[in-house]
């Protein structure tokens, strides 16, 4: 083992053993009343156990022996075989002392020590177990049948419940990017595994099919499988008597379905209302696609008759939309009525299908209509006049149009559609030779198919031009004509080649940009069986959605690549800082100054040198300025890479709002604004839960039932809005409703009832301060637990989540008028502008937005007001505490300040409140890339994250809100202390 590693191990051993010793000391000397006894015993056991393991690893076997005995005793206490009385605790404390000694000597000598034999003997006695004996090995048990294990079932239900929300994201494929898809798939994969492990095999199959559907991005299949998931989890919920999230999923699905149906039928109704407009192919295609989607949804909600009718109707739309057909408007009107009926019935609880009789009759009429119309249509289509473009694409002159009757047009189309047939143009002069004329007419009647003919005047004579179709090659036809007209003066033939773009002088590039599926050739519809076969596949381009402009400009880059990129820029920022430090290094200057002192200022060489040095320094500073400016720009550009419109977040809410409002019998208009504001992609995901919670709160508690609203003189329909406003590098997301507002008095009373504050104290608080209790852990004013809120997850969780994003949340509310929560967030969660200060040796970063300013005060400025030290700032009293005191750091220096010199005070703000923090040293402002902090550190109050400084020192980033709270606590403590 390398000596470096060995040193590391000893160091870690020392730290860890020390921690255990301190903990054991505390736990052993605590009286049993100090907390849950079982927890204390378990912690004691674990600590001795860990010490034993650590000692063993470090070859400290004497220490291991002592720890092992202590562990054995605690093991017996843990199982209830003995109590942790004073008689037991005393020798354990002795064991602890011995362990400390052995650990110290071990670290000093790097060698095993000697455990006191009498202590070992006494511990053995207490442990009631000779050191050598072990409990007899029991035979290994059979594997647990997992699904019979209630705890496992409970865990599974929890997983299911938690996963459900993620699974439903698949309902909205449009807003599901690659990362989102992966997260949905991951969740489904885990649930599938859990189902397998618990032997819920059909459920596992459902989840597997769901994943396949997700991979294929097959919206219908996803919907179908999610429906099965809802059914399966409802069953598991009933089985276990726990909430497996089935209700949530079922609600969301029902809502999704209802939305598809409602939106679909509104649009379909509008389209059906105008028979003339439906003759437009794109409108008919849109309607057909719409009807198919609705039919798929009706299948899922088990309304088969409605679904079948819509499919027939869709088929009709695809095949025929003859606005001029006499039956057409009547049929459409009937279909419209049926659709309206269906919409009403499907929205009922439970949903109702259409009457069988009515559907059958209408379906029959539609089918017959299609049969008739398609037959007419095929004929009609063929006779439709050709366009100039169609003709020239065939190599024919547009003048020909005049000579194409409907019949000859149909012939021409038939010839074009027949791959065997080719078109030729024959020019004949039939007025000179009767032989040629009769031979030609005979040839025309037997060997080729004439489509049309027209006269042509050439050199004062009337020639006959004939358009013919023949399967034969040009040479064979020319030979036949030569047989009729051996002289070759009267009959000529040429092939009508489809237009050659080069010959026609058309730029080939135009052809390239044409959609390949839009040929100018007439397309003859294939005459499929004229029955209304359901599930005709929707057209390749559903007209519902405009084609996304996926030009060459869009790149998909995994998030981690950008994070790596940001990290590199971070590295550049550090280098730029180094350059600045180098440019400002005054050592060269001072060396020059002392040289000048020795040689005299007049020395010409020295003066030149000084100038050169000064010049060089200025260049460096210039370079530094330019570099940091361009690094700034680079970083801004990089930040842009990570942002998406906040719309992607907002769009996830309308559905939920509508459903919640419906469930609670409230009427809510949902509005969003500022969807174009762009925020960090990672924040979209992190904001979802807090926003969802607040939206639920707003509907549950904020918005009144319509009757109450009207009684209060407000419109029955409430408005709930989500708004985003960008301010420089921050974004404010506001959730506002015009509901009943927060009853400050109710909040105060509840806070008192929950013991968060004393009655008298509470009466002294301002309304703002009272409302802050909304964010207290476990606080909820809801008197009833509704389905969606009041589950114990409160605004404290919301605030924590937002704080983790570097944001803050504020409330505006007026009783009777409504409530607005404003969430203030950085555009990027990764970068934080901070003020760097130093307390003792530790560099701390205070998020810049919490800092109003930094002021200097002299000792005389400090005054004691009602127990607290304060200074006067802008004619207002500012309470000041030492930052070290607030954070519980060991503080040096005098307090309150005395003696000469300035004292630096950071004015910390939170909302409209201010408090001063006295610091030892102000370093600078700096943008820090927040790094994930060690979980242990993250739990320390006041710590928001960590970052690194140029010199590699770790800087602790303080959490602004928490810092404010800690400072306020320190201030109160000071006030309570005797003066």
């Amino acid at each position: 083992m390398s000596s470096e590693l060995i040193e590391t191990l000893w160091r870690q051993f020392g730290v860890e053993a020390g921690e255990h010793f301190d903990l054991l000391e505390k736990l052993l000397s605590a009286t049993s009343g100090d907390g849950p006894e079982a927890e204390r015993i378990a912690a004691l056991f674990r600590s001795f156990h860990s010490l034993k393991g650590a000692a063993r690893a470090m070859d400290l076997f004497a220490m291991e022996a002592v720890a092992h005995r202590a562990e054995t005793i605690l093991g017996r206490v843990r199982t209830g075989a003995m109590a942790l009385t004073e008689e037991v605790a005393a020798p354990l404390l002795e064991a602890l002392d011995a362990l400390r000694g052995l650990a110290d000597s071990g670290m000093r000598d790097r060698r095993d020590g000697q455990a006191p034999a009498d202590l070992l003997a006494r511990l053995d006695l207490l442990g009631g177990e000779a050191p050598a004996t072990r409990h007899a090995p029991a035979p290994p048990p059979p594997p647990v049948r997992l699904h019979e294990n209630e705890r496992m079932l409970g865990l599974f239900v929890g997983l299911l419940h938690d996963g459900m929300a993620t699974l439903t994201r698949a309902l909205d494929l449009d807003s599901l990017d690659e990362e989102g898809t992966r997260s949905v798939d991951d969740t489904a994969d885990r649930l599938e595994l859990a189902c397998e492990r618990l032997n819920f095999l059909p459920f596992a199959d459902t989840l597997r099919r769901f994943r396949e559907a997700l991979a294929a991005r097959d919206a219908d299949a996803i919907l179908r499988e999610l429906q099965s998931v809802a059914t399966a989890s409802a069953r598991i919920g009933r089985l276990t008597g726990k909430d497996a999230g089935a209700a949530i999923l079922a609600t969301l699905l029902a809502d999704h379905n209802a939305q598809v149906l409602a939106q679909g039928s509104t649009r379909a109704d509008a389209l059906l209302a105008d028979p003339a407009a439906l003759s437009d192919a794109s409108a008919a295609a849109e309607l057909a696609g719409l009807l198919d989607r609705m039919a798929a949804t009706l299948d899922i909600v088990r309304l088969p008759r409605g679904s079948a009718l819509l499919r027939v109707l869709a088929d009709v739309m695809r095949r025929a939309a003859p606005a001029d057909h006499a039956d057409w408007p009547v049929l459409l009107a009937d279909a419209r009525t049926a659709l309206a009926d269906l919409t009403v019935r499907a929205a009922r609880e439970p949903a109702e299908d259409l009457d069988a009789d009515g559907v059958d009759a209408l379906e029959g009429r539609l089918r017959t209509f299609v049969d008739v119309v398609s037959a007419e249509r095929e004929a009609g289509e063929a006779r439709r006049p050709l366009t100039v473009e169609e003709l020239s694409s065939l190599g024919l002159d547009s003048g020909l149009l005049r000579f194409l009757s409907p019949d000859s047009t149909a012939d021409l189309r038939a010839a074009i559609a027949d791959p065997e047939m080719r078109l030729y143009e024959v020019t004949a002069f039939l007025e000179t030779s009767p032989e040629v004329a009769s031979g030609f007419v005979q040839w025309m009647g037997s060997k080729v198919r004439a489509i049309t003919n027209w006269p042509e005047f050439i050199d004062g004579k009337t020639w006959l031009r004939v358009l013919i179709a023949s399967p034969q090659e040009l040479s064979a036809l020319a030979d036949a004509l030569a047989g009729i007209d051996p002289g070759g003066g009267f009959l000529r033939i040429r092939a009508c080649a489809p237009s050659d773009p080069v010959d026609e002088g058309v730029e080939p590039i135009v052809a390239d940009t044409m959609p390949p599926d839009a040929p100018s050739l007439p397309v003859v519809q294939s005459a499929g069986p004229p029955v209304a076969t359901p599930t005709a596949p929707p057209p390749a381009n559903p007209p519902v959605r405009p084609a996304a402009s996926t030009g060459g400009g869009v790149l998909r880059v995994p998030g981690e690549v950008i994070d790596r990129f940001m990290a590199r820029i971070d590295g550049m920022v550090l280098l730029s800082g180094d350059l600045n430090a180098t440019a400002n290094d005054l050592r060269l200057e001072s060396a020059l100054a002392s040289l000048t002192e020795r040689l005299g200022a007049g020395d010409p060489d020295l003066r030149a040198l000084r100038e050169a040095v000064e010049h060089h320094r200025r260049d460096l500073l210039d370079l530094d300025t330019q570099l940091s400016r361009s690094v700034d720009r680079l970083r801004e550009a990089a930040l842009d890479l990570r942002v998406v419109p906040i719309e992607t977040l907002f769009n996830q809410f309308p559905r939920v709002v509508r459903e919640l409002a419906r469930v609670q019998g409230k009427s809510v208009r949902f509005a969003t604004e500022g969807g174009e504001v762009r925020i960090d992609k990672s924040m979209v995901e992190m904001l979802y839960d807090p926003l969802m919670h607040m939206v639920r709160n707003a509907i549950d508690h904020g918005i009144e039932p319509p009757a109450d609203r009207e009684a209060a003189g407000k419109p029955a329909q409430a408005t709930l809005s989500l708004r985003a406003i960008q301010r420089n590098s921050r974004v404010v997301v506001e959730i506002a409703e015009d509901g009943r507002g927060i009853a400050t008095e109710a909040v105060r009373a509840k806070a008192v009832r929950q013991g968060l504050i004393g009655e008298e104290d509470s009466l002294r608080l301002s309304a703002d301060a009272v409302r802050e209790f909304i964010f207290a852990p476990g606080f909820s004013t809801a008197e009833t637990v509704t389905e969606t809120s009041g589950r114990g997850v409160g605004m404290d969780v919301v605030r924590n989540a937002i704080t983790r994003l570097g944001g803050s949340i504020a409330i505006r509310t007026r009783e009777g008028a409504g409530t607005a929560f404003a969430i203030d967030l950085p555009l990027s969660a990764a970068i934080l502008r901070t003020l760097l200060v130093q307390v003792d040796d530790q560099v701390l970063a205070i998020p810049d937005r919490f800092v109003e300013e930094v002021c200097g005060f002299t000792a005389d400025d400090f005054h004691r007001v009602s127990g607290c030290w304060t200074v006067m700032r802008r004619k207002r009293v500012l309470p000041v505490v030492r930052l070290a005191d607030a954070l519980g750091f060991p503080a040096e220096g005098d307090w309150p300040p005395s003696g000469p010199g300035q004292r630096l005070v950071v004015v910390l703000r939170q909302g409209s409140r201010r408090i001063g923090l006295e610091i030892d040293k102000l370093l600078r402002r700096g943008d820090l890339f927040v790094r994930e902090s060690h979980p242990g550190l993250a739990e320390v109050p006041g710590v928001g994250g960590v970052s690194l400084l140029n010199d590699g020192r770790i800087v602790i980033i303080l959490d602004g809100d928490e810092l404010y709270r800690l400072a306020a606590v320190a201030q109160r403590r000071e006030a309570d202390a005797p003066a």
Binding site: M1, L5, I6, A54, R56, A57, D59, P141, P143, R190
Partner: protein
Amino acid sequence: MAKPTILLVDDSVLMRTIIGDIVRADDELSLVGAAENGKVALEMVKSLKPDIVLLDIEMPEMSGLEVMEHLSLMSRAKVIIISSVAQVGSPEANEARALGAVEIIAKPSGTMSLDLAHKKGHDIVAAIRRAAGLAPPAKP
């Protein structure tokens, strides 16, 4: 073939260093992460999807056995228990077995005298290689 990925879960920094060092001695194994408690471990399992989890039993907040219950429902990783509590035949060992632990081995001891060859032949490496279906390590 990709190297088997391993996640190490132990509340002791010292143990993580020692066991990590032993695992890293084998070039055919890839240690992808180390977690200091059960909750972190479950999160890391979700994101890292390791093939093998080396799991301590005695941990604060969430014991190794509780972690195993969760793991059995959310991960295909094979679990190797590294604990001196779980002696063969002890109730903990039996429960771990029942929950699907593929191996139960003791915490390393006498690490100070380990050289590279010893590390490669270590019980922990041997257990991982068995679980991953690799050939047994060469005995020192």
